[in-house]
């Protein structure tokens, strides 16, 4: 059996799909477990489902790394009747999906044991949906047809909505409602934008196509430019809604804030980037069609700056911690958009690196905070009956560093990383974006770019103070209660994520198992489409 890149990619799709089905098997076994105690019957399926899900995500990550170790030549292969195209940009996003899904999968078992103990049906459903969500996010970077890509993004919406709704409380239903209605409405714009792109091909001598590899070739110059521009704007509104870009971000704090923390890690770490991946494909197509990057650059720069300006006061105000983390997603998607908007190989390199850095750091924060929520009984104390409720009161944890040293330090260092402090990864990617901006400014001085860079620097500086204040309240001081002991299961994934945050803050690996620098260079080349200045 040959392990060709196409075969590896097919396995990446098959694994989570199989796992989504396999996690139901223990439920069948329960029917015949008459002789065992009720507790044993509940725990055994949970453990098997846990092994299936974590095992799948670990193997998926290994397969993705194996795919990344190949020569990165674009691969075209069919799966059933769907055409797939995998290039360096796809592999880069697959790495992000693999790493975050793997780390999040380790927390599902502990989360379900604490919140849904004795509900084997709900546990099986949660595991199954998690694997399906994983599958949809693997599917998106592989699909070549833009309409099927839209379907892939809609499938991520369905599976993630189900993962929020499965909790069953009023807040979860409300968050899921906002999420699915806002993103589904937005995504209609994306489909109309895709349709406009199809319509823009009416003047071309060839058969119209919706496969992105066919749309970045010179034939694209024959497209109707007005329709191509309108198509990009609709696509940006549509997928921008899903990517959490302002002002279409209103679903984001609710969904990220209410979802189970392993799901929040995936939503923030990967889902937003899946939508960004589609926007990147459309940027390449639009630039190829218009013959320059001026239009997409300006639009992305404006969108990014709006997101940064929206995010700053939201982060500075006092909110429940998970919501604050969600507002940080808005900020970081803004930073990525600004990087893409500045354009040029340097800023694009920084923006793409920021995609991975934000995904990894944000997962670290959500998962570490999940540890605190699960093991810290302070919540019950602070929410005593009769005590007035106020913003953020539901997570008034104090003295986390003393009570849970490993988790506390991960939160502290992860928080510093998230706000762009050296020597962590986000600092490096933000610095590269800034360097790219200054480089462009030296090449072609202009008021608009100067203003953009000034807003970018001001926002990230102000935001720095915001999260530090939030974390200081939670981490320092004397704990008012004694939380449960930290287990290796809950700490080791955090440490691994932190090592990644640290390594990516010092260097972009250019050799060894994962030649990230080569992958990023090739991805920049793909997004530029040969017209980057």
């Amino acid at each position: 059996m040959s392990l060709s890149p196409a075969f590896l990619a097919k396995l990446l799709l098959l694994l989570p799909l199989s796992a989504a089905a396999l996690v139901w098997l223990p439920m069948l076994g329960r029917l015949s477990g008459r002789g065992r105690s009720a507790q044993a019957r509940t725990r055994a399926p949970n453990r098997l489902q846990d092994y299936i899900t974590t095992g799948t995500s670990v193997i998926s990550t290994a397969l993705t790394l194996a795919l990344a170790a190949t020569d990165h030549k674009p691969q075209h292969f069919p799966v059933l009747f769907i055409d797939m195209d995998v290039d360096s940009l796809s592999i880069y996003f697959l790495i992000l999906v693999g790493v975050v899904a793997m780390m999040a999968s380790f927390y599902i078992g502990p989360y379900l044991s604490r919140h849904h103990e004795g509900k084997p049906g709900r546990q099986a459903l949660f595991y199954s949906l998690f694997n399906l969500f994983h599958l949809t996010m693997v599917l998106v970077p592989m699909v070549s047809n833009l309409v099927i890509l839209w379907i892939g993004i809609e499938l991520t919406t369905i599976t993630s909505t189900a993962l929020i709704v499965v909790e069953g409380t009023r807040r979860h239903f409300e968050a899921a409602w906002k999420y699915i209605v806002i993103t589904s409405t937005g995504i209609i714009f994306a489909l109309l934008g895709t349709l406009f792109l199809a319509l823009a091909q009416s003047a071309t001598p060839t058969h119209p196509s919706m496969a992105w590899p066919n749309l970045v070739v010179p034939i694209a110059h024959h497209f109707n430019p007005s329709l191509v521009r309108l198509s990009f704007l609709f696509v940006l509104v549509g997928y921008g809604t899903k990517a959490g870009l302002a002002p279409m971000h209103t679903w984001l704090p609710d969904a990220h804030g209410e979802a189970a923390y392993p799901v929040s890690a995936l939503l923030s770490g990967v889902l937003l980037k899946s939508a960004l991946y589609v926007i990147l494909r459309f940027i390449t197509i639009t630039n190829a069609s218009l013959g320059n990057a001026m239009f997409t650059s300006n639009v992305m720069l404006i969108t990014g700056l709006i997101s940064l300006v929206f995010a700053t006061p939201l982060i500075l105000k006092r909110s429940p911690f998970k919501r604050t983390l969600a507002y940080h997603s808005l900020e970081h998607m803004g930073i990525i958009s600004v990087g893409i908007g500045i354009g040029g190989p340097i800023a694009l390199f920084g923006a793409l690196l920021h995609v991975l850095n934000h995904g990894v750091t944000k997962s670290l924060m959500f998962l570490a905070y999940g540890n605190v929520q699960d093991q810290y009984p302070a919540r019950a104390a602070s929410m005593a009956p009769g005590k007035p409720s106020r913003a953020g009161a539901e997570d008034e944890y104090v003295g986390v560093i003393r009570a849970m040293p490993a988790t506390g330090w991960m939160l502290a260092l992860g928080g510093l990383a998230l706000v762009g402090s050296p020597p962590f990864s986000i600092f490096l990617s933000e610095l590269i974006i800034l360097w790219g901006g200054v480089h462009r400014l030296i090449q072609a001085p202009g008021l608009w770019l100067t203003f953009s860079i000034a807003v970018f620097v001001t926002s990230i500086t102000m935001i720095f103070g915001g999260l530090v204040r939030h974390l200081g309240r939670m981490l320092l001081g004397e704990p008012d209660t004694c939380p449960e002991r930290e287990t290796a299961r809950r700490i080791v994934p955090l440490l691994l994520l932190f090592v990644l945050v640290l390594v990516l803050g010092v260097t972009v690996p250019a050799a060894g198992l994962l030649n990230l620098q080569r992958l990023l260079d090739q991805s920049v080349h793909i997004v530029c489409g040969g017209i980057c200045r």
Binding site: N145, V147, I148, W150, I151, E154, L155, T157, I158, T161, A162, V165, G168, T169, R170, R171, F173, E174, A175, A176, W177, K178, I180, V181, S184, T185, I188, F189, L191, L192, L195, A198, L199, Q201, S202, A203, H207, P208, M210, N224, S226, L227, L230, T250, W251, P253, D254, G257, E258
Partner: protein
């Protein structure tokens, strides 16, 4: 009928869709809003069928597509009624949870639509006055028409300009309905109006060679709509005991 005549008839029907959307926006009773949605879905079905008989179109694919709005027109009111009753059941407390609640829902389902219609009579209001809503709607329609004709001016896509205008208008009107209405059921109707715009664009605007792809995407969109109607909306109504937007705003975005 000849090709151009069929085309003109389809365009007239497309404009009828816009007028119905305008009425949905101006109507203050949910019962009427739901009926208008059904009428709009039927008009859309006729547009799809007319288009299927135009020369150069794939009759089978488009004929199949006509089933979608027709099916939605038939099932959406029942699903909305079910979701509405979930709110009433939760508020009335005429059940003792678990099996009692299930029994109550089952008995309520028998006359669900009639029961829901009585509730809908009390809902459907807008945030803005009727005259202002209508003015905004007219502005949105004018914007859509101008945008579509400007885009298509002198180009090979000129023939689809009227349908493109109608699609964009429906999209904008649906969005406005979602923002302007006070209750969640009306918001869903707004989403379905947006959906109709998408249907129209897929059938009338997309190049014939790619129409099947967009049809495929519409099936998925219907799946999303069903997830909302079957799962999220009843759950939301059950847990909040109300169908008003203000009663479902504990989270602040």
């Amino acid at each position: 009928m000849s090709g151009p005549l069929l085309d003109q008839f389809a365009v007239v029907m497309s404009y009828l869709l816009i007028i119905i959307a305008l009425l949905i926006s101006a109507t203050r009773t949910l019962t009427l809003i739901v009926r208008l949605y059904q009428a709009q879905a039927l008009v859309l079905t006729s547009v799809v069928l007319i288009t299927a008989f135009e020369p150069g179109r794939t009759l089978v694919a488009l004929g199949l597509l006509a089933i979608l709005p027709l099916t939605l027109a038939a099932i959406v009111p029942r699903l909305l009624a079910r979701a509405t009753l979930h709110a009433t059941i939760a508020r009335s407390g005429e059940h003792d949870g678990g099996v009692g609640r299930l029994r109550y829902v089952t008995s309520a389902q028998r006359g669900a639509l009639n029961e829901a219609k009585r509730i809908w009579l009390r809902h459907g209001g807008s945030r803005l006055p009727v005259s202002l809503s209508a003015a905004i709607d007219m502005f949105l329609i004018a914007t859509a028409v101008l945008a579509a004709y400007r885009l298509a001016a002198g180009k090979s896509v000129g023939v689809v300009a009227p349908s493109l205008a109608a699609s964009i208008a429906l999209l904008l009107q649906g969005l406005f309905t979602m923002i302007n209405k006070n209750d969640i059921v009306s918001q869903i109707i707004g989403l379905l109006v947006v959906d109709q715009g998408l249907f129209l664009a897929a059938v009338r605007v997309a190049p014939a060679e790619l129409a099947y792809l967009f049809v495929l995407s519409l099936f998925l969109y219907v799946l999303v709509t069903l997830v909302i109607l079957l799962w999220v909306l009843p759950g939301l109504h059950r847990t909040s005991s109300t169908i008003e937007v203000v009663g479902n705003s504990t989270l602040k975005g």
